[in-house]
């Protein structure tokens, strides 16, 4: 057979295989993956890729020549802030988003030089092993607490009102929301899975960049060790397929440190500001990056550092200005809850195993050995490889000058985290630096020492991947369309029955208050309040409005309330005295119960959640 005919035959055979593939999945009466599931995933992926390409084009055009991560995350940061501006002026609509995507994609016309990542066979294997469950997470209906009250609820509201919400009635939306605007944009094009797929693609690019950076700075296998340490940690891995803001903050933080090491100061300021705007818990990483830039320059560099700081804060300032323009504290909702002295957004003492000196010194040990994914004992799990690498890190700091900036930055970031709540999720912005520190140790250690790290990492996998993969397996059946979506939602979303009642049985003009409940993402009616940390919004309403709390809501047009029964436990607030606990927690909840008895009618109840209707609701 001639080569031409052989090629043609090959093409035809491949075409036939493709046709068979389509036939199998569309005509099989009990398909392994339903066509709807495939279409949903494809649309989500398209929605995510549009913004990946647009951001990369934009970032590449700005930088001219860059790594893929550098261009992608710079463009993402610019788009995040730009879309915030669009929302602020009330133009957050489909056509406007389309225009922004097209405009940003025009960056490709400038033919930026973007260094595409290379992945060896081992890298692909890791990507497949970790990417598959993360992909399932991304395609599954959102059930994670933070997704359904914040990270996807805010984008959903942005699309619904085509502008910004915020203030005391929507405190979550008063946060800096650079990634949420992009999640909204992705959701607008690709539906529900798009934001999570966007986050997953960001993570893939970020991890690969970390791997390359580690090898480049510290020598192989530092990059691989860094990436594997992160992937071997529950707290990191479970967020891969979720739409969160910890990992984007981590990638921006890593790029800021990279820019600091390379002396690219404008990029440092930009990435640092983006990281900070993404999540305030990135502050220690930003400080570390600035210290790297400042090292050896002394007081004469203060003006330069001040200018760089101003450059970074310029990425956060719009969110502060917006809060200030609405009469709120710039840092609201983290601070500045009006008329309610004593309202604390987050009690640092609630997390970890103590904050005395001994506990602080034992922190690296405790956070590995005593961490639990389901309790306030660090509320997460990290790979033991990090703890095992500490001697190696000391060795690297002593023997390898090239590792010192990374190790110092990691140390600063870790200490910064330790000063805040000991919640492992808050450590994520520093995770790439800590991973690089493990990588530095791996390089410094002899081969059998590296083996110890590997063994530790592998032995730690069940504790980290178990709580991740178990629920993921349950999600898989929903993702392929074998199990109805509602089955999962009913099981995992607290108060799902009450939310269903609101969506099915209230009028379209009903307005809902979420009191001590939070699945705002699924509420198909305009809603107010919801929960952030310790149910601050509902408690604040009750503490400041007293007996008029429900009247206030009704005056705002609220017709129904979804009310959760929290039953605050004193033992989870051991650091509060009885009086304060009673005043701030049990009394507001009890007061709400009394008010509802007087002013509402319960029309649905399931477990701890009830729907109350106020007079004239539904009339």
């Amino acid at each position: 057979m001639s080569p031409h005919r052989e090629r043609l035959g090959g093409q035809l055979a491949a075409l036939a295989a493709l046709a068979l593939l389509v036939a199998v999945f569309t005509l099989d009466p009990t398909p392994a993956v339903s066509p709807d599931a495939i279409l949903r995933a494809a649309r989500g992926l398209a929605g995510a890729l549009i913004w990946i390409l647009a951001a990369t084009g934009l970032g590449g055009a700005i930088l001219g020549s860059s790594s893929l991560a550098g261009a992608l995350f710079l463009g993402t940061g610019v788009l995040g802030l730009g879309l915030f501006g669009l929302a602020w002026v009330g133009l957050f609509s489909g056509p406007a988003l389309g225009g922004v995507a097209v405009a940003a994609s025009c960056g490709w016309l400038l033919r930026p030089k973007i260094e595409l990542p290379k992945l060896d066979a081992a890298g692909w294997a890791v990507a497949l092993v970790c990417g598959a469950p993360a992909l399932i997470n991304a395609l599954a209906p959102p059930t994670d607490t933070d997704e359904i009250y914040q990270h996807l609820a805010i984008p959903s509201q942005l699309l619904h009102v085509r502008g910004l919400l915020g203030g005391l009635l929507h405190p979550d939306a008063s946060r800096p929301i650079p990634v949420h605007t992009l999640y909204a944009a992705a959701m607008s094009f690709g539906g529900e899975p798009a934001p999570k797929l966007l986050h997953l693609l960001w993570a893939a690019v970020g991890l690969n960049h970390l791997r390359g950076l580690g090898d480049r700075w510290l020598g192989a296998p530092a990059g691989g060790a860094a990436a594997l340490t992160l992937l071997g940690s529950y707290t990191f891995a479970r967020e891969l397929g979720l739409a969160y803001n910890n990992l984007p903050a981590a990638w921006w933080g890593l790029l800021a440190v990279e820019a600091a090491v390379a002396g690219r100061r404008k990029e440092l300021a930009a990435y640092a500001g983006m990281a900070l705007a993404c999540k305030y818990t990135a502050a220690p990483v930003v400080v570390a990056a600035y210290l790297i830039t400042w090292r050896g320059l002394g007081p004469r560099a203060v003006p330069t550092m001040a200018a760089l700081t101003a450059g970074a804060l310029a990425w956060v300032a719009p969110y502060w200005l917006r809060n200030a323009s609405e009469g709120l504290h710039p840092l609201f909702p983290y601070a500045g809850w009006p008329e309610a002295e004593g309202i604390v957004f987050t009690y640092n003492e609630r997390y970890g195993l103590g904050r005395d000196w001994a506990s602080m010194l034992l922190l690296p040990w405790n956070m590995v050995v005593h961490a639990e994914t389901t309790s306030y004992k660090f509320l997460g799990q990290v790979s033991p490889a990090g703890l095992l690498a500490i001697p190696g890190m000391a060795l690297a700091a002593w023997s390898r000058p090239a590792a010192r900036p990374v190790l110092a930055a990691a140390a600063v970031a870790f200490v910064g985290w330790a000063l805040g709540p000991h919640w492992l999720r808050y450590l994520l912005p520093a995770a790439p630096l800590l991973g690089l520190a493990v990588g530095a140790a791996a390089v410094a250690l002899p081969s059998w020492g590296r083996a110890v790290l590997v063994i530790g990492g592998v032995l730690g996998l069940p504790a980290s991947w178990g709580p991740w993969l178990g629920p993921t397996a349950q999600e898989a059946a929903v993702v392929v369309g074998a199990t109805p979506r509602e089955t999962l939602l009913k099981e995992r979303v607290p108060g799902w029955g009450a939310i269903e009642y609101i969506n099915k049985y209230t009028e379209s003009d009903a307005r809902v208050a979420l009191l001590f409940s939070w699945p705002g993402y699924y509420v198909e009616r305009p809603y107010v309040l919801g929960s952030v940390e310790d149910h601050v919004p509902a408690r604040h309403l009750l503490l400041t409005q007293g007996d008029a709390a429900l009247t206030t809501l009704r005056d705002l047009g609220v017709t129904h309330a979804v009310v959760g029964e929290v039953r605050f436990l004193k033992k989870t607030y051991p650091f509060l005295d009885d009086e304060r606990f009673r005043r701030e927690f049990t009394e507001p909840e009890a007061a709400l119960g009394e008010l509802l008895l007087k002013e509402g009618t319960v029309v649905f109840e399931e477990g701890r959640y009830a729907v109350w209707r106020f007079p004239d609701g539904d009339r």
Partner: protein
């Protein structure tokens, strides 16, 4: 026709019309042939529901409510003059002279027998010592449980309602594969739908293999009287024999969470069809009817329907109502049911959570009330027995006696009701009164009111529908035999 102005013929009972807003329908009054048992006819062009009246034997000067719900679609046909969607369906009358008074709206009518005297004032409140039932004290996820089903107190063990304790002999059983969200009634538990399916008849601990299967769990627990079941689904109400194979689907938009109520040929449910305009309404359907009809369809939230022994009851925003399904005679007592999660009905006696005091109490329409320190919740009544929750306990109260007044919906007075200051509540029925009441098993001592005293009478056996004669025409008291 809008408000009839025909003069009443001589000897007719007269009424003063205080206000009629019967959807603009005409309300006629005058002498008429009293219809047997208050049966109603409907020849109206305007679609109407049942006619209900607050008292078929009101005293002179007593206020009487007449209600005919409009049963057609909204908005109403503008050709129907006076149909008023906003003002509701109630007419209010004050009787002025003894005699028969026919009240009607278009083709629907009934006859009031206006009496010279009337019972007034509250019913006496018997003592009701209570004891704990630890076997069924485990809290349930759904605060509407534990509950009585016949003489069995049904409680939880974790989520499923697997524990049953007989309130008379104390027998305790643990049901196998018990349901989480069953319908209780007539001594059975019926769980509907996949995962909750089954029919348990304690003391048998296993489910009946003949239990009717439904493909869905429904949007509320099922309702049952022990023989027939009803299940609310998204856009229908399913009615079926608990051990039969056929299932009937009624067009309805039943409320979620609130179970339908079943009593013999009747099924009642909370309807959301016009909730956007009126709030929840109550619909009923007799098995011989093709569709359900509104029983109450007006502004306000009528909810938590229950049915028992020929009566249907429900909760309103500021009242609790019970209506005879046979006669349409309806009694609504002012109440503060607040956010009560259900209504308990034993015949014409309703029990509910009362939120009008300093704490939550349990009160019943026959005078029995548990006003104990702390909150009392979730009443469940049969005869003198009242199951309720207090703190983390399930308690069973036993009234020392229960009273049947001659004004009770279960009473059939022979002659006219006369004022008698010595009688309980100031009136008695001339010629005597017959009470028809369903009593739980056990011997009961009958005490009849004669003058100011209670005269000890015969001992009767419960466990059936019994008839008790009171020749003096006043109340009787029923006391459990020691």
């Amino acid at each position: 026709m809008f408000f009839s102005t025909r003069l009443a013929p001589p000897r007719a009972g007269r009424v003063a019309l205080l206000g009629v807003c019967l959807l603009g329908l005409g309300l006629g009054y005058g002498a008429g042939e009293a219809q047997e048992g208050g049966r109603l006819s409907s020849e109206a062009a305007v679609p109407l529901g049942r006619l209900s009246v607050s008292s078929l034997r009101p005293g002179v000067g007593q206020e009487v409510w007449v209600e005919v719900p409009y049963a057609g679609p909204f908005p109403a046909d503008p050709a129907w003059e006076g149909v008023d969607e906003e003002r509701g369906t109630l007419a209010r009358l004050i009787t002025q002279a003894p005699g028969a008074v026919r009240v009607g709206a278009f083709g629907l009518s009934t006859t009031l027998q206006v009496q010279p005297g009337a019972n007034r004032g509250p019913l006496p409140n018997p003592k009701a010592p209570a004891r704990a039932l630890p076997f069924v004290s485990e809290p349930c996820d759904d605060p509407r449980f534990p509950q009585l089903s016949g003489l069995w107190a049904i409680g939880c063990d974790g989520q499923p309602l697997s524990r049953a304790e007989h309130i008379l002999d104390g027998e305790q059983v643990s049901l196998e594969g018990a349901p989480v969200r069953p319908g209780l009634g007539g001594g059975v538990l019926y769980g509907a739908g996949p995962g909750d399916h089954g029919l348990w008849r304690p003391p048998s601990v296993v489910s009946s293999p003949e239990a009717h299967r439904v493909p869905e769990v429904g949007i509320a627990p099922p309702g049952t009287d022990g023989v027939t079941g009803a299940l609310s689904v998204a856009d229908a109400l399913w009615v079926f024999e608990l051990e039969g194979r056929l299932r009937e689907s009624l067009r309805a938009r039943p409320a979620p969470w609130m179970p339908p109520a079943v009593d013999g040929p009747w099924v009642a449910w909370v309807e959301l069809g016009e909730a956007w305009l009126f709030g929840e309404d109550i619909y009923v359907r007799h098995k011989d009817w093709r569709e359900g009809a509104p029983l109450v369809r007006r502004a306000g939230s009528q909810r938590h329907v229950a049915a028992s022994e020929g009566f249907v009851g429900w909760i309103e925003d500021a009242a609790v109502c019970v209506e005879s399904l046979e006669t349409g005679e309806r009694r609504c007592v002012p109440a503060s049911p607040g956010p009560s999660r259900r209504l308990s009905l034993w015949g014409a006696v309703a029990c509910w959570e009362d939120y009008g005091g300093e704490d939550i109490d349990v009160v019943c329409s026959d005078g029995l009330a548990l006003r104990r320190p702390g909150h009392q919740h979730n009443p469940s009544r049969i005869g003198p027995w009242l199951l309720f929750r207090e703190g983390n306990q399930t308690l069973l109260a036993q009234a020392e006696w229960i009273v049947l007044d001659d004004d009770d919906l279960r009473a059939a007075p022979v002659g006219a009701t006369l004022a008698d200051p010595l009688a309980l509540r100031g009136a008695r029925a001339e010629g005597g009164v017959r009470y028809t009441v369903s009593l739980p098993p056990g011997e009961v001592i009958v005490e009849r009111r004669v003058g100011e005293d209670w005269v000890l009478g015969e001992t009767i056996e419960g466990g059936a529908v019994v008839q008790i004669e009171a020749p003096h025409g006043d109340a009787v008291r029923l006391r459990s035999a020691p």
